[in-house]
Amino acid sequence: MDFKLKIWRQKNTTAKGRFETYNISGISPDASFLEMLDILNDQLIEEGGDPVAFDSDCREGICGMCSLYINGRPHGPDHGITVCQMHMRNFKDGEMITIEPWRAKPFPIIKDLMVDRGAFDKIIQAGGYISVNTGGVPDANAIPIRKENADLAMDAAACIGCGACVAACKNASAMLFVSASVSHFTLLPQGRVEAKERVKAMVAKMDELGFGNCSNTGACEAECPKEIKLTNIARLNREFYKAHVS
């Protein structure tokens, strides 16, 4: 397969970026999108050029490192997967493909297609955990947990922290990310103990870091590679009000 690639190139955080166009040919439909970019980079190096910088690590859709905005959609055209899991058979032969980094103010561009998502770690630092030290905990079966709740907690905990929700949102809101963490812990008896403090601290940190508010358009849910549901945002709102009124 042949493609025309329009790729965002930017030397560093402060430099001005621009689109560059590259032609690539002879790509197998079974190659993954990132393998296609590997081939492009090797080609650029052999031709004496500079490779395109992009983040990727596990290449099996779980580490959350890859972060490409393809033809106007985070993680590209397919649903429920990260860009590393997408294969070129999802594109038409000869197609022009536009590749950009995540576009959101709280995620500054480091270089080309790489962004800094340190803000997500800061939100977790504010309370995305249960405050227990190592050792001195009860037996794992001491507290039975409704299977339904354990399953819902797992659904929420499946978030990989990639930031597609923020990139998809016109307000660059981190509500889906925060709600996944809050829901995960709130649904479990162990996490209820500090539920109020957690939700207050995480929402305050999210606001402080410049993420926008939620206007319920649902773009985050539509683009989430792990299909985290909007109902988590409803739960977050409920927990937030409860923490403030009681």
Partner: protein, 646 residues
């Protein structure tokens, strides 16, 4: 020859760890603040160790090459984590988990370490549940389990097919909590470039800031490596793109012994290789073997027609299918350990029964399980794995059997450590996959997560104090000391040399070639001639690499090609040591299969009289062969037998 002191405590095996803890030296709370500990790596071992040490009050610095500690490759572990809870009332115990692990490792691990691992396994599950890890549960609200290879009990705890992710997020949460409290400082997007040794003790590291390209010096009273395995020496593996051996390799060159580098785990159930553009291989969890049945056609002509696309798997009637694992190993069937299952797949494919376009694949079939349990149950158990398979292969595994083939997955070998997890350099520790200690020649499924968290939460935070108690009088050292300066200069020189090659080819060209050499000569089965040829080929490719690569840009900026070159340069050296170790070990054990040493039935043939030892290699300089030190293995609590799963 140096005598390797494993420092295994005296006393009966079940009391060793308790006794150790009762008598070891501890550091008082006011002194803990004055001691700096460097932890490299933020996977299960690194994150859990850093969090636990921070909670205790030590001053911890943690490093990772990724943008966030949550992305370390432990996150990709799918199937589960073992523990001897015996919640299923099926006869499990600490002893049985210990026994299975030693036997699974083909009697090439250190007994006392494995016993301790089994002992603390139960604490791990308690800890994770307290952190909110959403393990699978029964309707009554209690935890459920499944089986993994090499065990006759159900002792594996799991969170769908994302157990590693959930355990890592637990440890990551604990780590972030300590970062917020200021006890741990995070340095992300940093690659460890060298270890700094002062007066014979590990005292710091040199790292490269991957964003700015600047080298940085960091001091620690002790250094802990939690940097994972070296499977990426094969280019194609289930490891992450950035997984590398460099930290361990620099430690080796500074005097830490490298143990059993030839012990590599080849995982039987991975999606087969399909093209030379491929960048990695994807694992399909071993848990699938609970319900999936592995087979190839019984008739060669059927296999050939399948390869040509003239027949489909579902066209083959049951009587013409060879469920070869069930046939060869009736007791364990599809749940034999990984090394056995991988070799059996290779044997069938080499004999001409393989399927898929390349003939290097076997079927993993869920037809019977779906008929027995219903599609819903299978979807609930493995839904995300089936989805992953379908996205990659473009085929629906609910309707046609999966095609799988073995791939490099894990490395049992690693830095030699004693009972305290200290390497042969005082003050340098190695935890998790980067050490060699617990899995012998083959690791059982769901035991990597167990070992990473055991080391990080429950072992190292104790044993490191036994060392640091004598360091309370050592003030923080200046990083202007000559040892730090020299180490940084050496790194600068090495990186400049790489930049200065100015050839014309991308690194992948040589890296892929190295991968082929390793897979063909130091892979699933090895022989003397092949290994000797392999060493020659590795040397040739190393030489070409150092003359022909081109790294664009400069040292002092983000340079992904330089990062890759830096890692591949180390793999090119490690590769030779692996081949050398494989050549030295004239027996078959676990993942190390020498064709010359097999039974009449083609099973691995150990040589306990001559090779019941840990091979610990000492670096002697760039142009000198490494020196072999042997740690004899003694089994006092397990009767050493021929490993049989029949």
């Amino acid at each position: 020859m140096v005598t390797l002191n494993s420092k295994v405590p005296e006393g009966p095996i079940a009391e060793k760890w308790t006794n150790y803890k009762a008598h070891q030296k501890l550091v008082s709370p006011n002194n803990k603040r004055k001691l700096d500990i460097i932890v490299v790596g933020t996977g299960l071992a690194g994150a859990s160790a850093a969090a636990s040490l921070g909670e205790l009050g030590f001053n911890v610095k943690i490093f990772c090459y990724q943008d966030s500690p949550r992305r370390a490759h432990s996150i990709a572990a799918q199937g589960g984590i073992n523990a001897a809870k015996n919640y299923q009332n099926d006869g499990d115990s600490i002893y049985r988990l210990f026994y299975d692990t030693v036997k699974g490792g083909d009697y090439r691990s250190r007994e006392a370490n494995v016993y301790r691992l089994a002992e603390v396994s139960n604490n791990i599950i308690d800890q994770c549940v307290a952190q909110g890890v959403p393990f699978a549960r029964e309707y009554g609200g209690l935890l459920t389990n499944r089986s993994f290879g090499g065990a006759l009990v159900s002792r594996t705890f799991y969170a769908r097919g994302q157990t590693g992710q959930q355990l890592l997020l637990g440890a990551y949460g604990a780590l972030e909590r300590q970062i917020a409290k200021g006890t741990v400082t995070l340095y992300n997007r940093r690659e460890m470039e060298d270890l700094v040794v002062v007066d014979g003790k590990a005292r710091g590291i040199i790292v490269r800031n991957l964003i700015t390209g600047k080298l940085e010096r960091h001091f620690g009273h002790a250094v802990v490596l939690a940097t994972g395995g070296y499977g990426n020496v094969y280019f194609l593996s289930t490891n992450a793109m950035g997984s590398n051996v460099s930290a361990a390799w620099q430690a080796y060159k500074k005097g830490a012994y490298f143990a059993n580098p030839a012990y590599v785990q080849i995982h039987p159930t991975c999606i087969p290789v399909h093209g030379d553009y491929q960048s990695k291989l994807t694992l399909m969890s071993e848990s699938l073997r609970n319900d999936g049945r592995i087979w190839v056609p019984r008739k060669k002509e059927d296999a050939e027609k399948i390869r040509k696309g003239e027949l489909k798997a579902n066209d083959i009637p049951d009587e013409d299918r060879d469920y070869y694992l069930e046939r060869r190993y009736p007791a364990f069937g599809n749940l034999v350990p990984r090394d056995v299952a991988s070799r059996a797949a290779k044997e069938r494919c080499d004999a001409g029964y393989g399927v898929g376009p390349t003939g290097l694949a076997v079927f993993l079939d869920f037809k019977d399980a779906i008929e027995r349990l219903g599609k819903d149950v299978i979807e609930a158990r493995y839904g995300n794995l089936f989805q992953m398979y379908e996205k990659i292969v473009d085929d629906n595994p609910y309707e046609t059997p999966m095609m799988i083939y073995p791939a490099i997955h894990y490395t049992m070998g690693g830095l030699w450590v004693d009972y305290e997890l200290m390497t042969s350099i005082p003050g340098l520790y190695a935890i998790g996959e980067v050490n060699f200690s617990d899995h012998g020649a083959n690791r059982l499924g769901a035991s990597a997560l167990m070992q990473g968290l055991a080391d990080g939460y429950f072992v190292l935070p104790y044993t490191i104090q036994n060392y640091l108690a004598d360091e309370i009088g050592t003030p923080r050292m200046s990083t202007d000391l000559p040892e730090f300066r020299e180490a940084e200069e050496n790194v600068q020189e090495r990186l400049s040399k790489l930049m200065g090659i100015k050839g014309q080819h991308a690194i992948d060209k040589y890296y892929k070639e190295l991968g082929h050499i390793m897979w063909d000569h130091v892979g699933m089965s090895r022989n003397e001639q092949g290994l000797k040829e392999g060493i020659e080929m590795i040397r040739r490719i190393r030489d070409e690499f150092w003359h022909k690569i081109r790294i664009p840009l400069t040292l002092n900026e983000l340079n992904t090609e330089l990062e890759k070159a830096d890692r591949v340069a180390d793999f090119l050296e490690l590769a030779e040591l692996m081949a050398l170790d494989a050549l030295n070990r004239k027996e078959s054990a676990g993942g190390h299969y020498r064709e010359e040493y097999q039974t009449e039935e083609g099973e691995a043939l150990r040589n306990d009289d001559e090779y019941m030892y840990v091979a610990a290699w000492e670096y002697k300089g760039p142009d000198k062969p490494p020196e072999l030190h042997k740690e004899p293995l003694k089994f006092e609590y397990i009767k050493v037998q021929t490993r049989s799963y029949k």
